[in-house]
């Protein structure tokens, strides 16, 4: 029995074949967070619910594809008061635009397991082309894809009217994500 367990663990722990294509995203090990400045104070937040679809073969990165759909109502904007406010018309206007959607168009290999993910982010009815640097880290059980970029909230009309004043809430939002995925 012990021996059988050992064999099983050994098999599971063996890195998958090099030709693995990562297609199954592990939501519990994936995260999307952000940080912005409010009156000079860094405030952290994130989204709890999002669906990621991807295909990534390290041997053929240019053929990779990814799309992310974020449920904007799942936001943690730093405080319960800010969570409520963010759903309103001036911010995400969640009742009309409940989701943020990113769809990739092209992946460029930069070397050293670093890639540039080009695609379109659609948020609050506005679509913008983005280039997001992503670092790929192969792992025993799952590979991770870490990305970070700066989103200017006013490009998407996030925080209109009285909130457009970037001296109070900064325009730049640092977005960080980690997507964990396994092969077939």
């Amino acid at each position: 029995m012990k021996f059988a367990t050992f064999i099983l663990l050994a098999v599971l722990a063996t890195p998958a074949a090099h030709a693995v294509e990562y297609t199954t995203v592990l939501p519990k090990q994936s995260s999307i967070g952000f940080e912005f400045r409010q009156m000079g104070v860094p405030v952290k937040g994130g989204f709890k619910r999002f669906v990621t679809q991807m295909q990534f073969d390290p041997a053929r990165p240019e053929a990779a594809r990814a799309s992310i759909e974020i449920d904007l109502a799942s936001i943690d904007a730093g405080s319960p008061e800010a969570d409520d406010e963010s759903a309103g018309k001036l911010w995400f206007n969640c009742s009309v635009y409940p989701k943020a959607i990113f769809v990739s168009k092209e992946v460029r290999a930069l070397g050293n397991n670093r890639f540039e993910l080009h695609g379109t982010l659609t948020l609050k009815g506005k679509s913008r082309e983005m280039a997001i640097p992503v670092t790929y880290a192969p792992g025993k059980n799952a590979a991770t894809f870490d990305g970070a970029f700066v989103l200017r909230r006013l490009d998407f009309g996030i925080g209109e009217g009285m909130w457009a004043d970037v001296a109070t809430v900064a325009n730049e939002v640092q977005v960080k994500f980690r997507i964990a995925a396994t092969g077939k």
């Binding site: 405080s79 909130w163 809430v169």
Partner: protein
């Protein structure tokens, strides 16, 4: 002039500067927390915190000064219990002037907002984000403030009573009115 019945000039300056800041921060705190979220609310919260940190630092300086400089003796004819009461109230005022900004700073950290003095100088978060603790500290902060309000009323009332009713040269001690009567 002899300064014997008057606090030293730095002590007087610190007293009035701190009093002014508290008289701005207190009503601001009462007013701001009922506001719906808006950029103005965020600004007022920041101003309140900046004032609080300033009070904290000024009180630290003032305590250092107080511990190294003897205050002027109280006028003759003040009852022993009043002298004791005055010492107790002064002690509590100092304690609250330290504890109140401290509780506000901790509350802010517990609610997940670092305090950044004048939007430039970040204070370390001594405790992590914790909603229950944040709400508890908010109540502590409020209770300490209303205790301070009661003590300030007592403090100002006693000074005015000694000065105007008992006609003792009291307000001069803190630099008000004529400097010296000999």
């Amino acid at each position: 002039m002899t300064a014997s019945n008057r606090y030293s000039t730095p002590a007087i300056a610190l007293h009035w500067l701190i009093a002014l800041l508290i008289f701005v921060a207190f009503p601001l705190g009462v007013y701001m927390h009922e506001l719906p979220l808006s950029p103005d609310k965020l600004k007022l919260y920041s101003y309140h915190k900046w004032i609080g940190v300033s009070v904290f630092l000024l009180v630290a300086i003032r305590l250092g000064w107080r511990l190294t400089h003897t205050p002027p003796a109280l006028p003759d004819g003040i009852a022993a219990w009043q002298r004791r009461a005055s010492a107790v109230v002064h002690g509590l005022l100092y304690l609250l002037m330290i504890a109140i900004p401290l509780s506000g700073w901790l509350m802010s950290s517990a609610k997940g907002f670092q305090t950044v003095w004048f939007g430039v100088l970040p204070l370390p978060d001594l405790i992590g984000k914790n909603r229950e603790l944040g709400e508890l500290l908010a109540e502590v902060h409020e209770a300490l403030n209303f205790t301070l309000l009661a003590l300030v009323i007592l403090h100002v009332g006693a000074a005015l009573k000694h000065h105007f009713i008992e006609r003792q040269p009291f307000l001069q001690r803190m630099g008000l009115g004529k400097k010296e009567r000999t």
